[in-house]
Subunit: 427 residues, 2 copies
C-alpha cells in the first residue's frame, strides 16, 4: 500500500448519510495486512434487492463466480461486466482485502461457500443471500476460517453510519477511500444513494482489483436495478482505464433496501418507469463520481486525463479510439512528461483499426488546437501548449470529422511510480 | 538517442558480405540530428524486384503511402502490414532518420515526390523506381530540398560493402545497429540475404519507428518476393511488440537484384517453387533475427521476454493470448522487478477474450512450473523461481489444455527507463 495520498485525490469528502436498511461494520482479521481493517460486513434488511455486474475475464475469481451464480447468471453466464439478466435478494455483503481468492481452484470455491455459511449463521439468513467480494493477491488460498467469530462479532456491531470506515477496509494500493452520495426525489419521497469503490490499477490483479458497492433505500425491484446498473456502468466504470489490464475480480454490486417506501417512495418494478428519471440521473452520477475517483487514484498518477473523441462513425467506434489513446503507453508517458505530443495521439487513432481519415483529423489539448485537418495547426504555439500541459487535469479532444459518434473516457498518466509500485511489489 | 547500449544487444555482429547489384552510401544531411549520418541511399541494378509490407495504421506516413502506391497497392489498399498483392521494380531506396514525414498533409506528399525526383535524376531512373522511408518526429514538415545535392553525391559514392554504416544512419532511439545475414543454396548457386532494421519502441511514433530492409542477389520475381515477405513477417516482425503502440511508418521492404543468375541461380517466379525451400528458411531466419534484435533494443529493456502459448483453440487464438500477455504493463513491470508474478499472467489470459478454462491452465517461467490446472503448483518454490527471474532472458510458457493452437511472441520488460525515454523526450 502506498503511503502518500494521490495529488489528484478529491479535496472535499462528502458527508455520507445513513441509508435506512443498511448497517456496516469493519474488522482487522489479519488476512494479509497488519494493523489495519481488512473485512467489511454490510447487513441489509429483509427484502433488499441486489444487482451486479462483473469482470469480463475468462479467469474470474471464486467470489465473482459465487455472486454471478446467486444472481442467476451461473458459471456459464457470458454476461460478465455487461451484467446478468436477473437480480435477486441480499441480506449481507462480505468484502475482504489482501487476498483475491482468484485462481485458487476447488479450495477457492470451498472458501466462498464457507464464508457465506459463517455470515448466514451470524445473521440468520440463507447463504444464497450473502454476497462476497475479495481483492488482493492472486493464487494464495484464502483461509475462510479467519472469518469465523469475526463475522459474528461484526453482525452485532453493525451500525448505519460507518461509510468512511467501510471504504477504508476494502482498500489495497488505493491512496484514499472513495465514497460518493446523492439524495434525490422518487415520487414525493427523498431517497439516498451511497456508493464506495476501491481500485488504483484498472486493474492490478494482485493488489488493486476494482470493487464498488452502491446502496439505496429506494424501493426498486432487482430486475429494474439490474437494468439501471447495466446501462449506468457503460459510461462510468466501463469508461475508465488505468493500464488496460482487466482484473479477475472486478465487481460492482447495487443494493436497494426499499426502506424509503415507508415514507412514501413508490415501488418501482421497471427501469423504464418515468418516475425513475431523476433517480437514474443521480445513480449514474454516483457511479461516475466513483469511477473518476478510481482514475484519480491510478497507480503513480500525477495527471487526470479526459479523452473525448467526436465525429466518429459511431459511439462504439469513438469508444474504441478513445480507449486506444487512453491505453497507449506512449501517450500516457508523454502526458507524464507534460509534453503535448499529438503525434502519439495520431498514432493511437491510427492503430485503433476504426474508420479514420488522417486528412480530416483535428486534435486539441485543454482547448488549444494543435493539429487540424491532417497537419500541425498553423497557429501552433509551443509555449502556450506547454503551459497548458502543466495542469493536473488534461483534456485531449480528437475530432475525426466523419460522423456523429462521440464518447469520453478517463485515464491517468503513466509515471515511473507506476513501474515502482508494480515492479517492486512482490520481490 | 540513448547513449548506453542495451544490455541485451547481440554480443557478436556478423560480417556483412556484399550483395551483387546493391551499393550503399550514407550522409549527414542535418535533418534533425547533429554530428551523425541521417540519410541512406541504396542503389540497385536494373531489374531488381521489390516487395513490401507496411503499417496497418489508418494514419500512415507519406512515405508509406508512396511505397504502397508504387507497389500497386494504392492509397485505398487495405493490405497494410499484411502486404500488397503485387510487387514491382526498384532502382533506389532513400531512408532518412530524424523526421517521419507523417501527418504532414499535402506538404508531406510533395516532399516524397520531390525526394524521389531528386534521386531519380541522380541515378537516371524513373521516380516510380525510388522507394522511400522516413523515421523520426511526427508532424514536422520534411524539407526535401535538403536531399538536393546530397543524393547526387551519394549516388557517386555508393559502394557494395557499407552495411554497418547503412544500419547506423537509420537509427533513432536505437542503441545499436541491427543487421543480419544468411548465405544459402538456390539451385546450385550460393545466394546471399542481407537485412537491416531499426526500431526500439514498437513503436514510438516520434522517435522509434520500425523500418527494415532485406536485400538478396537471388533472382526472385516481385510477386514471389511479395508472397515470401507476407508469410515471413507473420511469425517474425508481426510477433514482436515493445509497447503495443503501432507506428504510422512501419515499413519492411525486400529487394532481389537477381545478380546470382549470372553464376547459375535459377530464376524463381513463384513463392511455392520447391527450389526455394532452403532460401525461404534462410530468408525467414534473417527476418526473425532482425525482429529479435528490435525486441532486444526495446526502449529501457533489461529483459528479453519470450511468450509461448500452447494448447489454445487455434494459432490465431494463441497469438491473441500471447499478445495480451506481452502487452500487459503489469506483466512487464513484474518481469522488470524480477517477480514471477503468474497471477498477472492469469489476468492477461483472462482479459484476452479468447477461449480459456481457468481450471486447465498451467504456467511456467524459464521451465519452472508455477501454476498447474487452475491453482498454484504444489511444488512451487519461491527461491528457485526468484533465482530464475534474474536471467536476462525470460520465457513464459502458458499451456491452456484446450486444443493444438500454439504461438510465440517476443517482447521486453517495462522499466522506469522506458518512462524516462518517452516522458522526457520533447519537454
Amino acid at each position: 500500500m502506498s503511503s502518500a495520498v494521490s495529488p489528484l485525490a478529491p479535496t472535499e469528502v462528502p458527508e455520507m448519510p445513513a441509508i435506512a436498511g443498511v448497517k456496516l461494520a469493519t474488522a482487522a482479521a489479519g488476512i494479509r495486512y497488519k494493523d489495519r481493517t481488512d473485512v467489511l460486513l454490510a447487513v441489509m434488511d429483509k427484502g433488499t434487492a441486489v444487482a451486479g455486474v462483473f469482470t469480463r475475464s475468462k479467469c474470474p475469481s471464486a467470489p465473482v463466480e459465487w455472486c454471478r451464480a446467486k444472481l442467476g447468471g451461473g458459471k456459464s453466464s457470458k454476461g460478465s461486466f455487461k451484467g446478468n439478466s436477473k437480480g435477486g435478494f441480499a441480506r449481507a455483503l462480505v468484502v475482504n482485502s489482501g487476498n483475491a481468492n482468484a485462481f485458487t481452484g476447488k479450495t477457492g470455491r470451498q472458501s466462498t461457500a464457507l464464508t457465506a455459511a459463517i455470515a448466514a449463521k451470524a445473521l440468520g439468513c440463507r447463504p444464497a443471500e450473502v454476497f462476497l467480494a475479495s481483492t488482493g493477491v492472486i493464487g494464495e488460498p484464502l483461509d475462510a476460517t479467519k472469518f469465523d467469530g469475526v463475522l459474528g462479532t461484526l453482525a452485532g456491531q453493525a451500525v448505519p453510519g460507518e461509510w468512511m470506515n467501510a471504504a477504508k477496509a476494502i482498500m489495497t494500493t488505493d491512496t484514499f477511500p472513495k465514497v460518493a452520495t446523492a439524495t434525490v426525489k422518487l415520487g414525493k419521497a427523498r431517497v439516498t444513494i451511497n456508493g464506495m469503490a476501491k481500485g488504483a490499477g484498472m486493474i492490478a490483479p494482485d493488489m488493486a482489483t476494482m470493487l464498488a458497492f452502491v446502496f439505496t433505500d429506494a424501493p426498486i425491484a432487482a430486475g429494474a436495478l439490474q437494468s439501471l446498473l447495466k446501462s449506468g456502468v457503460e459510461d462510468t466504470f466501463n469508461a475508465v482505464t488505468i493500464d488496460g489490464d482487466t482484473s479477475t475480480s472486478d465487481t460492482l454490486l447495487a443494493f436497494a433496501t426499499g426502506a424509503a417506501a415507508d415514507h412514501g417512495a413508490p415501488k418501482i418494478s421497471r427501469a423504464g418507469d418515468p418516475r425513475l428519471k431523476a433517480f437514474t440521473k443521480a445513480f449514474n452520477a454516483v457511479l461516475a463520481d466513483l469511477a473518476e475517483q478510481v482514475a484519480r487514484d491510478g497507480e503513480g498518477a500525477r495527471k487526470l486525463v479526459e479523452i473525448i473523441v467526436e465525429g466518429a462513425a459511431s459511439k462504439a467506434s469513438a469508444r474504441k479510439i478513445a480507449m486506444s489513446i487512453a491505453n497507449s503507453p506512449l501517450v500516457k508517458t508523454a502526458i507524464a512528461g507534460e509534453d503535448a505530443n499529438w503525434g502519439r495521439v495520431v498514432m493511437a487513432v491510427g492503430k485503433a483499426g476504426e474508420p479514420a481519415d488522417r486528412d480530416k483529423l483535428s486534435i486539441s489539448f485543454n482547448g488549444i488546437r494543435v493539429a487540424n485537418r491532417g497537419a500541425r495547426d498553423p497557429s501552433y504555439d509551443e509555449a502556450e501548449v506547454s503551459a497548458a500541459m502543466k495542469n493536473p487535469k488534461i483534456q485531449i479532444k480528437v475530432a475525426l470529422g466523419l460522423g456523429k459518434g462521440r464518447d469520453r473516457v478517463l485515464t491517468c498518466d503513466l509515471t515511473k511510480e507506476y513501474i515502482a509500485i508494480n515492479g517492486d511489489y512482490r520481490s
